[in-house]
Symmetry: C2
Amino acid sequence: MRFTFDIDENGKIISNKNRGMSLEDEISKSNNYYLENHIAVIYKKATPIRVVKCVNNKITEAYFEQKSTTDFNGVFNGFHIDFEAKNTNNKTSFPLANILDHQIEHCKNIIIQKGISFFIIEFSSLNRYFLVPSIKIINYIKSTKASSISLKRFINNTFEIERRLKPPLDYLKIVNEHYSSFFE
Amino acid sequence: MRFTFDIDENGKIISNKNRGMSLEDEISKSNNYYLENHIAVIYKKATPIRVVKCVNNKITEAYFEQKSTTDFNGVFNGFHIDFEAKNTNNKTSFPLANILDHQIEHCKNIIIQKGISFFIIEFSSLNRYFLVPSIKIINYIKSTKASSISLKRFINNTFEIERRLKPPLDYLKIVNEHYSSFFE
């Protein structure tokens, strides 16, 4: 997922409180709900930053580094959970260029270790959210060499996530009900 | 764990390549071994940094934030693994002030979710390493209100980690052989 803050002409971070809730916010709110209700312990991984210069606890030179894995991980009733969140403005398909090769490698490694690996994909302009087990994306890329996945395929072959008030995106309901879908 | 780099008088990061291998390095090397050999997928969590100012991809003002959880997590043969690494120069006991209250809360949450939660404690001056299931530290604090754990107690009640060439610290061997110790 991309950083969700904006930067003004002076380089100051602009608060995004007046914008719609981002996918990351919706997931973080869901994770807070899961944590408070002892349903799961899932956190966003911190953005890796390479620190070059630091004076009296103030960092004065640093750079964002490309993350080598995925956005979120944690534990849910004995299951290791690991996932990436992506959104697209496209109304009819999700471009696979959004998923990096090393992320696919990471997902394969998680599956080998019997972890639950998936993507949450938001079609922003449609306000629809899908949970896709990584194994399905891996197999689809392998068998078709396609560069995108159609919305129709999402609807027929993946899991649409229920929008609720609490939690906003109840993605663990799908993990709970469709465990075997994450491995075959 | 504390940051392992030093800063010179101009605020530049000094390479620590000439120092002895830190506990964090030993664990990271072990994790690389586990990853390359498809034994486990365990990473150090990135240090959370609050970015205040950023100009053309260069961060010019930022601050280290206190992490709210632990140092490492990942998955090993279906087990969710979560642990903190700490060292002490003390030769006879480990001061419990090194472990923060919110870290204990995090460990409790992991255990509730059936994750494997533990501490790796290094007695630096003795060159000895122990794996301690978090449940044992939680119960010990609860029953004794003690402010430290003696080396003798480590030797008799926890698991000493074998030093090897590859991996340097084979801590997953203990997880594999003593699963029930992490929950009672």
